[in-house]
Symmetry: C2
Subunit: 577 residues, 2 copies
């Protein structure tokens, strides 16, 4: 990933025109984000970098672009690799053909499961892919004290990593109360990051006024949680860089395009946050945002800045995001600018993708992954552990919201038999269970959930934000038990079970989060999985996405962790009845 900053004497001789370059891209229509112009020029490459623009240069290898556009490679300023369920190698194969050459990864799912080892996996794997994969250090593991990761990450664990060349800062600071109160630990983490000239990303959905002033005053530098123009405008005004997000579930680009057109902000950039494999194969990545913004009518140079240069500025990546001497030769050949048709992708001066397909494999991928397998460390589970004591009468129920990561806090009449509450699939009242899986504690959180529509069977997942314990929803305890057992069998992933039989699985053996498969195969299996759930009556389009967020204790309103039911607003456990 890293190339030396100091130019070689040969590099300078090439720039002076005294020696041939490695590669000439002739007659490019350069999208120059530095001057804000588009013009025709030759672009010369040596040592993996742009060495010169202009006329009168020779090269060992020639490619005539015939007036096609040349843009800097695209940058995703905030994303979680784990949401793609791909190894870094397979992820690169999926997105590099879409023009992404730099990503800022917050590996906080890995970090919940594996601690620092999860962060080091990404830093090490980054060496083997044609992608600048930088890490933002996960600032909040666990997301709250009500969650149970493998082990908490302390400030002291993270600080030495700030000096790693692959680290560009501190990831989304979700501990908003800690920031606003000015907790010393939190401020020290921010300060240590800023002192090194690195970025501190924020996470402040809906925040405004006095709280927002305090959040910014504490040293936060950006936010990707912007759901209205007014929210985004206030954040820009107060100094936060605006990360315009277009994830698979949470999509803000459409909402924010009018603001981008109005203000043409230099302090805005594109991010995807969470993109699932199906979405990656059907819509693409940052290129999809570029297309959308171009269709809306934004100036092409502005759009390319939003998708490359601006992010490089925010993260201090001084050799990314533009086409000029000394910059990395991360370049896209684009034949139709409006349609943003990417004919070819160069990474560090090498042709790595053409016409939508990668020209590299992911063979480096499995090295270093051994330590990330076999991460389901749960105690033996019996039907007894799944019984939910209670009485007939009103009870709290987690209310699923279609296509959202939030839930509603429902109160429903429930029925008990022999002192235990029963599920009522006919009323869409299922049992929800979260089984601790990191440290053999045997801890199981139990509750009720409404909204999946399962008539029978159970579904279960080892993707369960943010601590990634095992989560299951089912019509019967027997099928929940079978589903959890099936999860253990495959080393983590997703399962659909009914009548004791496993109907569909997607194995995610890497940390229980990630598959070794290529994106197309994985996407196909996920679609088959969703179909199996639908066959059991499930009414949600993406039930596993929904399931995986039911344990996230920092997103409203009612959630379940291995410790019990969580009232998010109150930030505490609450009894079912």
């Amino acid at each position: 990933m890293s190339i030396s900053m100091m130019p070689s004497p040969r590099f300078l001789r090439i720039a002076r025109g005294e020696e041939p370059a490695d590669l000439a891209l002739r007659d490019a229509r350069v999208i120059n984000v530095l001057s804000g112009e588009i013009y025709r020029s030759d672009v010369m490459i040596a040592d993996g970098r742009v060495v010169a623009l202009g006329d009168g240069y020779e090269a060992r290898e020639e490619r005539d672009l015939g007036g096609r556009y040349l843009t800097p490679g695209l940058i995703d300023g905030h994303m979680h690799l784990e949401s793609t369920m791909l190894t870094l190698g397979q992820f690169a194969r999926a997105v590099v053909p879409h023009g992404t050459t730099t990503v800022l990864l917050d590996p906080h799912e890995f970090a919940n499961v594996l601690g620092l080892a999860g962060i080091y996996y990404v830093l090490d794997a980054a060496r083997g892919v044609p992608l600048n994969a930088y890490v933002m250090l996960s600032s909040c593991v666990p997301a709250s004290p009500l969650e149970s990761p493998r082990q908490p990450l302390q400030a002291g664990d993270l600080l030495p990593l700030l000096d790693h060349p692959g680290v560009r800062g501190l990831a989304e600071m979700m501990d908003v109360p800690g920031v606003l109160r000015g907790d010393f630990d939190v401020l020290a983490k921010i300060e240590a990051t800023r002192r090194r000239g690195l970025a501190v990303d924020g996470h402040a959905p809906g925040m405004d006024g006095h709280a927002l002033n305090a959040y910014v005053a504490a040293g936060i530098g950006s936010d990707h949680e912007n759901t209205t123009v007014e929210e985004a405008r206030e954040k820009l005004r107060l100094g936060l860089w605006l990360m315009v997000r277009d994830g698979s579930t949470t999509r803000n680009l459409g909402t924010l395009l009018p603001l981008l057109a109005e203000l043409r902000p230099s302090r805005a950039l594109f991010v995807t946050d969470d993109r699932d494999p199906v979405d990656l194969t059907t819509r693409g990545h940052i290129d999809a945002m570029v297309r959308r913004a171009l269709e809306y009518g934004l100036d092409p140079i502005e759009v390319i800045r939003l998708a490359s240069y601006n992010a490089a500025q925010y993260f201090g990546l001084r050799d990314c995001g533009a086409i000029a001497p000394g910059y990395r030769a991360d370049l896209l050949v684009v034949s139709d600018l409006r349609a943003f048709t990417i004919d070819a992708v160069y990474k560090d001066g090498r042709l790595v993708a053409e016409h939508g397909g990668p020209l590299f494999d992911a063979s480096h991928d499995l090295a270093g992954l051994e330590g990330m397998m076999g991460t389901i460390h749960s105690a033996p589970l019996t039907l007894e552990n799944l019984r939910l004591p209670g009485h007939t009468g009103p009870a709290l129920v987690v209310g699923v919201e279609v296509g959202q990561v939030t839930t509603r806090r429902l109160v429903e009449e429930v029925t008990a038999r022999d002192g235990y509450i029963v599920t009522e699939p006919a009323r869409d009242l299922l049992k929800l269970a979260v089984v601790e899986r990191h440290n053999h504690t045997g801890r199981v959180g139990l509750g009720l959930v409404k909204g999946f529509g399962l008539r029978r069977g159970a579904i279960a997942s080892s993707v369960a934000h943010d601590a990634h314990n095992l989560v299951a929803a089912g019509a019967s305890d027997e099928d929940i038990l079978a589903a959890i057992a099936a999860l253990r069998e495959i080393g983590g992933g997703f399962v659909v079970v009914a009548g004791g039989a496993v109907l569909a699985t997607v194995a995610l053996p890497i940390a229980g989060l990630v598959s070794p498969l290529p994106v197309e195969e994985l996407a196909a299996r996920l679609q088959a999985l969703d179909e199996a759930a639908a066959a059991l009556g499930c009414t949600l389009e993406h039930p596993f996405m929904t399931l995986s967020f039911l344990s996230l204790s920092v997103i409203p309103a009612l959630k379940l962790t291995d410790r019990g039911l969580v009232d998010v607003a109150a930030a505490r456990l609450v009894p079912l009845q």
Copy 2:
């Protein structure tokens, strides 16, 4: 100068609205360079920083701006304090009322006279002024091997200073051949600077094409030598930040305004480079550039960005150049935006100037200056030392160009008597002498000069770029000798002498470059000095400015140093005849 980055708990309580701020600027019309908007808001200040914008805050001290504009303090991105001939304290008194709150100083004149001590003077003095005075380390002392400073500054002298918090990078890299050749020492200096995230300023007048590509490829980040739109455009395209200069002699703003209007570059900023005291009192400082750009019709937000925010971005000054929580409260109250009338200046939240006048003195100034006095270390000089051997016939003559720092290489018929060439004031043919003054070497360079118009007498200066030996031009050897003696007498400065009598002096006892006087007094004396020279027949408006550049061996065409006549293009000494 430095304030801690980490917010105090109190600072955050104020931001949250739970405690009163130190100062409220009510009903400001905020020029928000971050969002690109102008809107009305209260601006709250605590601990010397902006703590919040918006409503519902209380403060211990109130000031109602009544809808007047509030802009960030202005930044001069490249200048030499020594050109102002003021101490840092007096300079602050001169420019802070004009709205300048941050300057990037290249102390290379001090460094030629005093070595590292000259750089430390600026770093230390910066603590005592209401001005962010950052240092760019002088990259080329001496400017060439043909000049004789007190001692050369090696890379090894400079590198430790890169970690000083007051240092922001490496100043104008004038050793262009060294950069283009890729000299290891030069590249190592650049690399060490860039590795620390600091800036490397360039100096590449007229450079283009292959040479410019190589200059940028070597790691240079900016240039202030842009005399045409096409030159500036190519530099922007290739990745150099465009420093738009408006000095006292070299003025490029007018030329470059059309480019600024066309491209609205985010990578452009205002600099003054060299401003003399008269200019400072009559025209002002960066505010004069703001006015000029506004008159031209540039968008006010763009203009303020050019004069503040953009420079902060280039230099990585993350808490300067904008009005938002956590930024330094360096603020200008402006009543008429188009005329850019600055009513008041706040520095670190304190009112430091009002209606054009400073509210602070320069009493800190003289501390630390003792070591900078008494710097004329020249050997005894006699008439014998000033005799110029030669014969009647053609000889090289330095041809002064009005208002320029360049000279012409003239060949004139000269007359010799007894083996020595004589001056011919009637033909405007004067003697030019450069007397080594740092190390008692007794070295004297002698030549002839045309263009001053002196009919009798002599003028002499200890300001003589870049090595600052003593330079004199005169109609007679006796008056040159008297002028050099007078310079020694006053510890350096400027003198006008005729018939052995000293007619006018301006003492610059600090390093022989700087006066302890306030700018108005100094400007008045300089005008009296020019008048004294005019009374002797001098036809130049600013003869001492011209005189001071006759020894600069890196600006075309024919110059004189203590080592002899310099053919600048050939970079070597040449004989007179």
